[in-house]
């Protein structure tokens, strides 16, 4: 187990290096000049090219690309993503503040998705080709096909604007104290919107896994021992069928963050997804790069943890 864990961690390192190179190249090779923000056009015309060159030198942009990359990487490894262009503080502190909000939203979304997907998937598999199977399968297709932003807007329109049941945006109304119901009211809509895709995918996986498991010999054995159907399904089948769901969780992390960017923007949720979008729109390059790296690291760590968990829950997996 220890060997396997170490091997997986070692495999994650080249992955992170490639991600950092890709991130750096995308931002730095794109047309558009990061210095534009720092250059005062009036000064530039008065002082000439020396002024611009001076600013570039000051920002370290006069050095070749690979040197800049290694400098950036060195800082990143020390946890320093630089200063945000717009908010006068470090990228790390901005992200550190927003990350818990995104994690809470993602976890609640995933929870909602699983609460619906697991029972629905089981019903679909046990009553294969029944009316329930068709209904839930259709629902999962609908979940896959809904445009996130439009679905969010429609929910706001119905539940916030027309019915007035839930707030339209933000994370809380009460800024002085933590009020559970206040937080709950704010998280429901964004979590449903964000969880929709995961629910659809998990339902399909759950159905597939359950169908696979109930065909196995040990299920027949359990039945022939005279165990009740409930025990057979819950104790013998479900436990094994849940294994792929665990791995799915690792893979769903990029999708969650991707969805979070849209969901958080629509619901004005103060998380990393919204910061990513805002940073992109305001050309805040250090913030964009920092955001990318943090999300990518979380993704790689997430799939690593899912892989290890997979090995824990499924003893059939050999650690080589």
């Amino acid at each position: 187990m220890l060997k396997y864990t170490l091997k997986r961690i070692l495999q994650a390192i080249p992955l992170l290096i490639i991600i950092s190179i890709l991130t750096y190249l995308i931002i730095n090779l794109a047309p558009g000049d990061p210095t534009a923000f720092f250059i005062n056009p009036e000064k530039a015309s008065r002082l000439g090219p020396d002024y611009v060159a001076n600013i570039k030198h000051h920002l370290g942009l006069d050095q070749p690309l690979h040197i800049r990359y290694f400098k950036w990487l060195g800082n990143v490894l020390r946890g320093d993503f630089g200063e945000s262009f717009f908010e006068q503080r470090s990228v790390m502190s901005i992200l550190w503040e927003a990350l818990p909000n995104t994690i809470i939203l993602s976890l609640v979304a995933e929870l909602i998705a699983l609460i619906v997907a697991i029972p629905a998937g089981i019903i679909c598999a046990l009553k294969r080709n029944s009316i329930w199977d068709y209904i839930f399968s259709t629902i999962s297709f609908i979940g896959m096909s809904l445009p996130t932003f439009w679905f969010g807007l429609m929910l706001i329109l119905v539940f916030s604007l027309k019915l007035g049941w839930l707030p339209t945006a933000g994370m809380r109304d009460n800024f002085d104290a933590f009020v559970f119901t206040d937080r709950l009211r704010h998280i429901i809509l964004p979590a449903i919107v964000l969880g929709m895709g995961g629910m659809a995918a998990n339902m399909r996986y759950m159905r597939g896994a359950m169908l696979e498991v109930i065909r196995q010999d040990y299920i027949r054995t359990a039945r022939s021992k005279g165990l009740s159907e409930k025990v057979v399904i819950v104790k013998h089948a479900l436990r094994n069928a849940l294994i792929p769901i665990v791995t799915m969780f690792g893979f769903s992390i990029p999708a969650l963050f991707s969805g979070a960017a849209i969901t958080e923007t629509i619901f004005a949720w103060p998380g990393v997804g919204r910061i990513a979008i805002e940073a992109v729109f305001s050309n805040d390059y250090p913030l964009v790069m920092g955001n990318f790296m943090i999300i990518a690291v979380m993704t790689v760590v997430g799939s690593l943890v899912a892989d290890l968990l997979y090995a824990v829950v499924d003893p059939r997996i050999k650690y080589e």
Partner: protein, 323 residues
């Protein structure tokens, strides 16, 4: 008893099908259609897609208004949907107006006509970007799967890396850095969407490369290119077609998401996504919900149809893949 009979019948059909394995394309299509037909939702979806493409092709004949033409009078802005033609003398003389099935937007443009023309844009963007990413993904997967070893290792780590970057922030960043335009949307969606296809084409290659007939081809001295294109790739065509269909769904969703943020297709050209852009303000949502409802509904129906058809294609083209 009835069920048993049915199963028996199915088994016979399957047997017959396998016997027909070497038959002509026409017969294969017939078998394919018989399997596809079983999925009623997919058949409905297929006709839906044909209908949507027809509407897009014949847009000028269907749209009652010029999609970019603003209304004759400010009073007509944000007009509610109506199914009757009406008369008005805002221009000074009495004029008959065609019905505004989906209402009018803030500039008094007919939402229905815009939706019809936007279909052209959204469907084309989907098609072109899928064509790009299928090509890249297939070639990437072929090379990695065929050569294996260190080549495979490096190529697949790059795929893993791209897959760990969440799509939407990546797309938004790239689109914001390059100039947003319809062509850039196609290129960027094409350049970012290929990783999944590369992965399974590689997997398909790895398993097919172990087959005897590939070994045989190698023994008689066939060149790499011949083995890849004549012997292995044709066997991977079915899943590629399925991925392309599902890819249309995701490409249309991504395009609409980008356009929604103002980073995709640029106004005044209408796409289903950018028609939703102005609907973001909550006041518009309450006063003129039709502006947001119809374009979003069309995205949803199109994407749903592609997903249903893709799913049925998977079952029909390759029964092995059926869950």
């Amino acid at each position: 008893m009835a069920e048993l009979k049915l199963n028996n019948n199915d088994a016979q059909i399957e047997l017959a099908e396998s016997a027909e394995y070497s038959d002509t394309i026409g017969k294969k299509l017939k078998i394919f259609w018989r399997r596809f037909r079983k999925n009623k939702l997919a058949v409905i979806s297929l006709f839906m897609l044909i209908f949507l493409y027809m509407v897009a092709i014949f847009a000028p004949l269907i749209a009652p208004y010029d999609p970019d033409g603003t209304a004759d009078d400010v009073m007509m802005a944000d007009m509610a949907p109506s199914f009757h033609s009406y008369q008005s003398d805002v221009t000074g003389e009495m004029k008959t107006y065609a019905p505004n099935y989906f209402g009018r937007d803030e500039l008094g443009r007919d939402v229905f006509s815009r939706c019809v023309y936007a279909g052209r844009i959204s469907l084309t963007v989907g098609f072109v970007s899928v064509a790009i990413f299928i090509t890249i993904g297939t070639v990437w997967g072929c090379i990695a799967g065929y050569y294996g070893g260190i080549v495979d290792n490096i190529m697949m780590r790059i795929v893993d890396a791209i897959m760990s970057i969440p799509t939407m922030p990546l797309l938004i960043t790239v689109m914001a850095l390059f100039k947003p335009s319809i062509y850039n949307v196609m290129i960027v969606l094409g350049l970012t969407g290929w990783t999944g296809i590369a992965r399974f084409v590689r997997a398909e290659f790895l398993s097919l490369m172990k087959r005897d007939y590939v070994e045989a081809a190698r023994c008689i001295g066939a060149r790499d290119r011949r083995i890849i294109f004549s012997h292995v790739l044709p066997n991977a065509v079915a899943p590629i077609i399925v991925a392309a269909t599902m890819g249309m769904a995701s490409a249309i969703l991504s395009e609409s998401g980008l356009s929604f943020f103002g980073l995709g297709v640029q106004p005044p050209t209408a796409s289903w996504g950018n028609m939703l852009m102005n609907a973001q303000e909550l006041s518009t949502m309450v006063e003129a919900p039709w502006k947001a409802f119809y374009p979003g509904m069309l995205i949803f129906i199109t994407v749903l149809s592609f997903n249903f058809v893709g799913d049925a294609l998977r079952d029909a083209l390759d029964p092995r893949l059926k869950q």
